[in-house]
Symmetry: C2
Subunit: 482 residues, 2 copies
């Protein structure tokens, strides 16, 4: 039985709880967060068990961009000057109202060391100009942030197989390296097990976890700590409806194992949740240069965002502010430059003139024409006073035919992953609804509420957090008394 | 000690829990929801205690509009034809994605009976044409709903002192009547006590509540049920930051006792929460006719909503979609008709022409001029193809001077109340994070997640829910075995 009643069962004390096996640290879930935690716990001398319902190989982190900065080795090799202060300032300004300063500070302060740690593990980064492992993955060069903080690139892309493909899978490479490292430090081979409930004792201390393997139930004691690294809840429709209903029409980016179990299990033993309505929605048009040069409009033919914004910020605006309806308007030049690689299904309308396009889209005249007139007039002067698109992407759209590419939810791929989750301290300890830590329970990665919450405006923050707080939890749990 | 540890204390069984006093049903909080619950529980023969931290008289519900329909006595007296089906259809269409059909159905099915119940309690409603107790309090006459469901008014305003003033306090009148009724049915006089924690037993059944009175702690057993009616959390800045951060700049509509205690206490004994990021934000410009006739624009001088929308929908759009920035543009005619009663502080700019106004507001030319040109051109023809404002409010803005009235968060009063809360069944029973009910625990009013969640587009839904689910909880709790 799950939930508080389940917990109650064990409250008569440890003496009555039967344990099938005992470990020091148990990690549930082994994406990049779980693998980082398992590695550090094992290297700290703890006896470690990793449980993973998807099988370790399958549950690969879906990205490879890792947001790091403040002066990493790669930044230095690329002659990029960055400081922890600048990185902190950028994150405080771009992640949403009332940001979690404590977690952001830890994230920033550990960043250079985390880069060095990855390098020490054999993760390659390239500073070759034609194969650079560093990019502007966030909103650094976008208004208003570029005027607040000098832009520097912080998106680190490991130079491993697959990391440069559209659907990057290179995160799996690092994850495997970490799990191998954990095993060579003595961790047990990850068990293909489905965690069912957390056991919290009479004294409030978390004691272990009950899981099923091939349908049989086993209880595993975690003497020093239980680390949840089970991901978000984008694949649990009921939870999305309960907490983030406006994203119901979007496509989950996450892997299917991201069913929110860790969040619910933690709540069952008293954990608080934070900003559960937050998600990162992305409209990842696969010719980004076209998106930046085009004109994004809503159902009324109005612009609503600077088109050079990060895909996640564009998706966020489409879903949260534009009721899911948007078009990217491009002209022949942009189509010839690469946008024409769009699949025909993505084209909403095409016409010789903007007026005709407006009619085809059902936008009342002259709304779209006015939008383009104003845009073109200013673009000719190298200006965008309405949305402040950077000069390098500003060019009048003047060469017909004009094409409207669908950027609407349901008519194009607007994907999302959840950002809200278990409320944790900067030490990755889980907080209860009274603000007290739940002893020996940790949450890392997207099972925990993120730093970029509600605004995921910088790619790589998820994996960056996975490494930062995964490591912290692994080391912290291993240090606890048994 | 609060939280799960607090609960644990009682888990050795009832024998070890000392109770200072025993009751059948305890109601915490006595706004309209708590008063309705207490009344029904007492009338059902239960021994009832009401706890209220604000003092019963102080904690008056802030509104008086009660959303009821489906053919109430007042609707009939006004020759308004309404059906439960039409009301259901409207609520399903206007309250947000994936609406809570079960709760909405119960709300609709009980509506006529709830009206009759209020009348039987002596609550007066007037069908006098010059003092009508019935109004369109929602979005019934607004696009797109007016085209989906034939509009009928469902906002019932009791004809009691204060109910027609701007800051209506008439809800207090009904509440007092209910508490008097509860007392005459045997309920104890409401105690001015601060509830501290819920006691849930080893068997999972809620047993009672611990509260402090003048700093001393007392335990009250609730043999048949504990009903939480403690309101939302708009006055708890930490909770707003954790769950609904985009509303941090808005002013709480709720009374100061709405600190979210009930939500946190319920979570501590395993309750699930739902849609905690939702809030009803309102820009209640105090000359509504001017708002409907004016033109609302955002920071880019673009229209973004039909100006005849309900104030709550306007506020919602300003906060959630327009980054908190908006202006209402009016001309001299509208000012003369009543908008000029605005306090001078509310005026952002005033100019002889729209072009000059645009300049004063810092909106890049000719964005605002284009917006007004298009609006005026269509308004002259009695059309609004962009946002579908109703014909009766459409009139070109042509008489200078033109005035921009501030509708921005921080520069005008954009108020909010929270809508997310404890997840409940249509029977007002509290659900845990596994979807099971927590025996003998009820939540009613805004401590529970609302029907209009995330969209509060119809005034009176809160009080309507308070009555509906307050009554259900009171009757349901009284029926439980001791």
């Amino acid at each position: 039985m799950l939930g508080i009643l389940g917990t109650s069962e064990s409250l008569a004390g440890e003496a009555r709880q039967h344990w099938d096996r005992e470990f020091d640290v148990i990690v549930v879930g082994c994406g990049l967060a779980g693998a980082s935690a398992a590695y550090e716990a094992a290297r700290s001398g703890a006896v470690v068990l990793v449980l993973d319902s998807g099988g370790a190989a399958a549950n690969a982190s879906h990205g490879t961009i890792i947001y790091m900065g403040g002066g990493t080795g790669l930044q230095k090799a690329c002659q990029i000057e960055d400081t922890p202060e600048a990185m902190m300032k950028y994150l405080l300004a771009s992640t949403g109202p009332d940001p979690d300063t404590g977690r952001i500070r830890v994230f920033v302060e550990r960043s250079v060391a985390n880069y060095d740690w990855l390098v020490s593990l054999g993760v390659p980064f390239s500073n070759a100009p034609d194969n650079l492992s560093l990019e502007y993955s966030g909103s650094e060069k976008v208004y208003p942030w570029r005027e607040m903080i000098r832009p520097v690139p912080r998106g680190h892309i490991p130079d491993v197989p697959g990391s440069k493909s559209l659907y990057r899978g290179g995160g799996a490479w690092i994850q495997k390296r970490l799990l191998d490292g954990a095993r060579s430090a003595g961790a047990a081979t990850p068990l293909n097990a489905v965690a069912r409930r957390i056991v919290r004792g009479h004294d409030g201390v978390v004691q272990g976890v009950v899981a099923t393997i091939d349908g049989r139930s086993f209880s595993f004691r975690a003497r020093r700590g239980l680390i949840l690294a089970t991901g978000g809840f984008a694949h649990n429709k009921e939870m999305v409806s309960e907490h983030a209903p406006i994203y119901l029409g979007c496509t989950p980016t996450d892997l299917k194992w991201n069913d929110g179990w860790g969040i619910r299990a933690a709540q069952s033993v008293g954990a608080a949740v934070r900003r559960m309505g937050s998600a990162g929605a992305g409209w990842y048009f696969y010719h980004p240069a076209s998106r930046r040069q085009g004109v994004l409009v809503n159902a009324q033919g109005q612009r609503f965002i600077s088109e050079d914004s990060y895909s996640g910020r564009v998706g966020d605006a489409i879903v949260r502010e534009q009721h899911g309806i948007a078009y990217l308007i491009v002209d022949r030049t942009i189509m010839d430059d690469g946008a024409s690689t769009v699949i025909p299904d993505a084209i909403a309308a095409q016409a010789a003139s903007i007026a005709d396009l407006e009619g085809l889209l059902g936008i009342p005249a002259p709304a779209l024409q006015q939008t383009l007139d104003t845009y073109n007039t200013y673009a000719t002067k190298g200006q965008d006073p309405l949305f402040h698109k950077a000069l390098e992407h500003l060019r009048p759209l003047s060469q017909g035919p004009f094409t409207a590419i669908n950027a609407s939810v349901g008519k194009s791929r607007v994907s999302f992953f959840t950002l809200g989750g278990v409320h944790t301290t900067p030490g990755a300890e889980v907080l209860d609804t009274e603000g007290k830590t739940i002893p020996k329970l940790y949450a890392v990665g997207r099972v925990s509420a993120g730093i970029p919450c509600p605004y995921y405006y910088s790619s790589g923050l998820n994996l960056g957090e996975c490494i930062t707080f995964g490591r912290i939890a692994g080391i912290g749990a291993a240090r606890n008394r048994t």
